[in-house]
Amino acid sequence: MTTLAPPSRFLPVLATVGLFVLAFGIGSARYDGFASGQVVANLFIDNAFLIVLAAGMTFVILSGGIDLSVGSVVALSTMVTASGLRAGWPVPLVVLAVLLIGATLGLLMGLVIHKFDVQPFIVTLAGMFLARGLCFLISVESVSIKDRTFRDVATAAIELPGGVTITYNVVIALLVVAAAMYVLHRTRFGRTVYAVGGNESSALLMGLPAARVKVGVYVISGLCSSLAGLLFSLYMLSGYGLHAVGMELDAIAAVVIGGTLLAGGVGYVLGGLAGVLVLGTIQTLISFQGTLSSWWTKIVIGVLLLVFIAVQRTMVRR
C-alpha cells in the first residue's frame, strides 16, 4: 500500500547504470588515463547521434513496435545534407528539409502499419530499403561537406569546467533526451504510448487515442533519425549511402540493454542513454586495450543483449 514500489520499477535502468559504472571502473583500474573527464565526454561526443536514435527508438519500442529504418534514414539525411550544402542551399533550409524528410517517412510507415495492420517489422524493413536506395539515387559516391558554417559548428568546442570539451552535438543530444523524457512521462501522448504498449486493446477500450499514438511514435522516430543524421553529418563531415549501416541494430540494442521491454510498455528514455554509454564504454575499453580487434565490441554487445533479454523474460513471467 505504501510507496515502496519505485525501486523495482527502476531496477533494469539501475542495473544498466551499474553496468556502465562497472565497465568504467574496470577501465580505470587497468589503463592509465581512462578515468578522465574527457574520456566520459568523448563517450557522448562519439555517440551523440546514437543517443538521439535511441530516444526515438524508445518511443517505438515502448508502444510495442520496432523501427528498422532508422540507420538508413540517418544515411539518407547525411546524403541530403551533403548534397544540399554542395548545391549551395543555406544551412537552415538543409536542416528543415532533412527533418521534414525524416518525419514524412516516419508518418508514411506509421500510417501503413496502422491502416493496414501490418507488422511494424516488415513495414520499417521496407522503409529501410527505401531510404537506403534513395541515398544512391542522389549519389553513389561519398560527398564531403565543405560548407563554412557547417564545419564551424562541427568543430566548435564548448569548454566545460575542468578543461573538458564537448561539441554542439552533445548539447543537442541531451536536449533531445530531456524533451523525450518530458513527452513520455508528463504528457497524455506519452502515457498513452505506455498504455498502448502495455495492452493495446485495453487502451482502445479505455477510449485513449491509440491510433494517433501508434502512428505518432513512428513520426517521432523518423524525426529523431533525421536529426541523428544531421548530427552524424556534423560528426563525419560527409554524406554517403553506406554511412550508418546496421546502426538501427545498435539503437535497438542500446534501448534493450537500457531495460526497455521489447514487448512494450516498460522502459525509460534514460535507460536508452545508459545503454548507449555502456556500448560506448565497451568500445573505448577495447580501443584502450589496443591488441583486440574492434569486432570484439560486437561480441560483447551480443552477449550483453542475450543476458538482458533473458533477464527481461524472467521478469515478465513473474
Binding site: 505504501t2 514500489a5 518530458y182 508528463r186 497524455r188 495492452n199 477500450l205 479505455m206 477510449g207
Partner: protein, 509 residues
C-alpha cells in the same frame, strides 16, 4: 421497485445477425435508474452481444436504442462512454504497467502547462476511490495489485466520468467471496446514487443477492423480464435452459431403445483436480451415451478435460478396459481411443485457414503417426465418406473451414475425430450456437455412433438435449458430481438438482 421513473435505457426490437448466426432476434430491454438489473442466459444466449450493442461495439441490424428517452446510435465504445454508459469487462481491461491514478483518469487527466498535472491527478483518483471506499495508493502501479483490486479500479475508472449506466460483464468470475461482497457493497452505493447497473453473472446466488430485476435471454431471443423477487430459481433455470421440444423428439426414442450396453470401457475412481473439479467416480460403457448436466462453471468441461488428459488429475486414477492408464497428455488419451471435441471449436479444434480435407487429414495423419503416410486415394475416400455421412455443406473438400457456418464447422470437427475411430468420444457443447437442423443431425449422429458401440460423453448447456439423448445423466454443481440419474429421468427433476433444491444425499442413481 416501482415503475414510476422512466427507463434510462430502452432497447426495442434489437436484431443482429453475424454470418451464419442470428445473434439477437427482436430483443427488448429496459434499464431503470437506481436498479441493479441482471442479464441472464446460458452461453451463446446473446448476453454479450446485447451489451456490445448497447455500448457501441456492435450496431444492430434493426431496432432502436434510447438513452433517457432520446434515440442514440453509438459507433464506438468511446461515444457510449461519453454519453454516460461505462463498461467493466470480465477481464480487467486496464494497463497493468501504468499507475492506479493513470488507469482511472488517463484520457481525461487534469493538465497544467500542456503536461499532465500529476499531483492533481492523484488527488482526483483518490477522491474517486474514496467514493467507492477503496483504499489503494493512486501512485502505485496497477500490476502490483491483485485482480480483485484491479477490478475495483476498473469500476473507479467507469464512474470517474459522469456515469448514468454502469455495465458489469461477469465482474465476479475471478473474485473470491470476500471480494464479491466488497464489489456488491460498491454496487449498492452506486445504485443508491441513482446509477443504473447492468450486471451479468453465471452465479445464481449472486444474482439473487444483488439484483432487483432480471431479463432472461435464450438463443438470442428475449424470454422474459421479471422482478427478481417474483421468480424462483427453478423457473429461472427452466427459462434459461429452455424446454422447447420440437423436431427432435425422435432421438429420444432411439435412446430408449438402446437398453443393453457393452462392457465398461472407462472407469474413473476418485479422479479430481484441485480448483477444477472435486474427486468423482464415473463409469462409461461401450455403446452408451452419458450426459453431463450442470450450469456453466459447474465443472462440466473440467471433468472432460481430466478424462482426456488435457489437464492432469491430482487425485484418483483412470482405468481403460480395467487397466490403469497414466494420462500424460492428450496424446496418450488419443492412443487409448479417447477423443475430445472442444467447446472452443475455433481455438482448440479446427485450423480455420485450411480446407475441410486438410483438417480431416491432419487428424488421420496424427492418429497414424508421421512415419506412415496415407495414400491419396484413401484420404479422398475417407473425406468423401464423412462429407456425405455428416452432410457437411458445402460438400466441397477444398472449401476453407473459416468460410463454413458454425454448424458445419462443428460437423467438420466431429468428422476430424471420427476418422480416428475413437472408442470414447467426448463432446463438449457440440450444438452450441448452431441452428436447429444441424443440431438434430449432430444428435442423430451421436445416437448412431452409440448404436455402433462407441461410448459418448455428451456435455451440453441445453438440458433438454442432454435428457433426450443420454442413457445416463451425471449432474454437476459447484464443481462436484452430485448425482447420477437414469436416462428416463424427467427434466424437472434434473432442473431441481442443478438448482440445488434437493440435498445430494437423497438422490440415488
Amino acid at each position: 421497485m416501482t415503475e414510476s421513473p422512466p427507463p434510462v435505457v430502452e432497447m426495442r426490437g434489437i436484431s443482429l445477425a453475424f454470418p451464419g448466426v442470428k445473434a439477437l432476434q427482436e430483443v427488448d430491454f429496459r434499464l431503470f435508474p437506481g436498479e441493479v438489473h441482471a442479464l441472464m442466459g446460458e452461453n451463446g444466449a446473446g448476453k454479450s452481444t446485447l451489451i456490445k450493442t448497447l455500448t457501441g461495439v456492435h450496431r444492430p441490424d434493426a431496432g432502436q436504442v434510447a438513452l433517457a428517452g432520446e434515440e442514440v446510435a453509438f459507433s464506438s465504445p468511446g461515444e457510449a462512454q461519453h454519453a454516460g454508459i461505462s463498461t467493466v469487462y470480465q477481464e480487467v481491461n486496464l494497463c497493468a504497467n501504468l499507475t492506479v491514478a493513470e488507469n482511472i483518469l488517463l484520457g481525461r487527466e487534469p493538465r497544467r502547462f500542456g503536461g499532465i498535472d500529476f499531483p492533481a491527478m492523484r488527488r482526483r483518483a483518490a477522491e474517486v476511490l474514496a467514493r467507492i471506499g477503496v483504499h489503494v495508493d493512486p501512485a502505485s502501479s496497477l500490476g502490483e495489485h491483485p485482480i480483485a483490486v484491479q477490478q475495483l479500479v476498473a469500476i473507479a475508472r467507469a464512474i470517474a466520468v459522469d456515469c448514468r449506466v454502469l455495465v458489469l460483464d461477469e465482474p465476479t468470475s475471478s473474485l473470491d467471496a470476500g471480494e464479491v461482497a466488497e464489489l456488491f457493497r460498491i454496487m449498492r452505493v452506486l445504485r443508491d446514487e441513482g446509477v443504473a447497473i447492468l450486471f451479468v453473472s453465471h452465479f445464481l446466488d449472486q444474482v439473487y443477492e444483488i439484483s432487483d430485476r432480471m431479463t432472461v435471454l435464450r438463443n438470442g431471443a428475449l424470454v422474459g423480464e421479471h422482478l427478481t423477487a417474483d421468480v424462483d430459481r427453478r423457473t429461472l433455470i427452466a427459462q434459461m435452459i429452455g424446454r422447447d421440444l420440437g423436431a427432435l423428439e425422435a432421438i429420444e426414442d432411439a435412446a430408449e431403445q438402446r437398453t443393453s450396453h457393452g462392457p465398461v470401457l472407462l472407469q474413473a475412481e476418485g479422479l479430481g483436480r484441485r480448483g477444477a473439479i472435486e474427486p468423482f467416480d464415473l463409469d462409461v460403457r461401450a455403446g452408451e451415451v452419458v450426459g453431463l448436466a450442470g450450469l456453466l462453471g459447474s465443472g462440466r468441461t473440467e471433468l472432460a478435460r481430466l478424462l482426456f488428459g488435457a489437464d492432469r488429475a491430482d487425485s484418483g486414477r483412470l482405468l481403460v478396459d480395467g487397466r490403469q492408464l497414466k494420462l500424460r497428455g492428450p496424446r496418450s488419451a488419443i492412443a487409448a481411443g479417447i477423443a475430445f471435441s472442444s467447446e472452443d471449436r475455433k481455438g482448440e479444434g479446427l485450423v480455420a485457414d485450411l480446407s475441410i480435407r486438410d483438417n480431416l487429414v491432419l487428424a488421420m495423419q496424427a492418429a497414424r503417426g508421421w512415419t506412415r503416410p496415407l495414400p491419396r486415394r484413401t484420404k479422398d475416400q475417407l473425406v468423401e465418406k464423412y462429407l456425405k455421412a455428416l452432410d457437411i455443406r458445402p460438400a466441397n473438400p477444398d472449401a476453407l473451414v473459416r468460410t463454413l457456418s458454425g454448424g458445419n464447422q462443428q460437423k467438420v470437427l466431429l468428422a476430424r475425430w471420427l476418422v480416428t475411430e475413437p472408442r470414447l468420444l467426448i463432446l463438449d457443447e457440440p450444438t452450441r450456437g448452431i441452428d436447429v437442423g444441424a443440431k438434430a443431425q449432430i444428435q442423430q449422429l451421436v445416437t448412431t455412433l452409440a448404436a455402433e458401440g462407441t461410448a459418448v460423453l455428451f456435455i451440453s448447456a441445453e438440458l433438454e438435449e442432454v435428457v433426450r439423448i443420454a442413457d445416463r445423466i451425471v449432474v454437476l454443481r459447484d464443481r462436484r458430481k452430485i448425482a447420477e440419474l437414469d436416462g428416463s429421468t424427467g427434466i424437472d427433476e434434473v432442473v431441481e438438482l442443478i438448482a440445488g433444491g434437493a440435498a445430494p444425499e437423497k438422490v440415488v442413481s
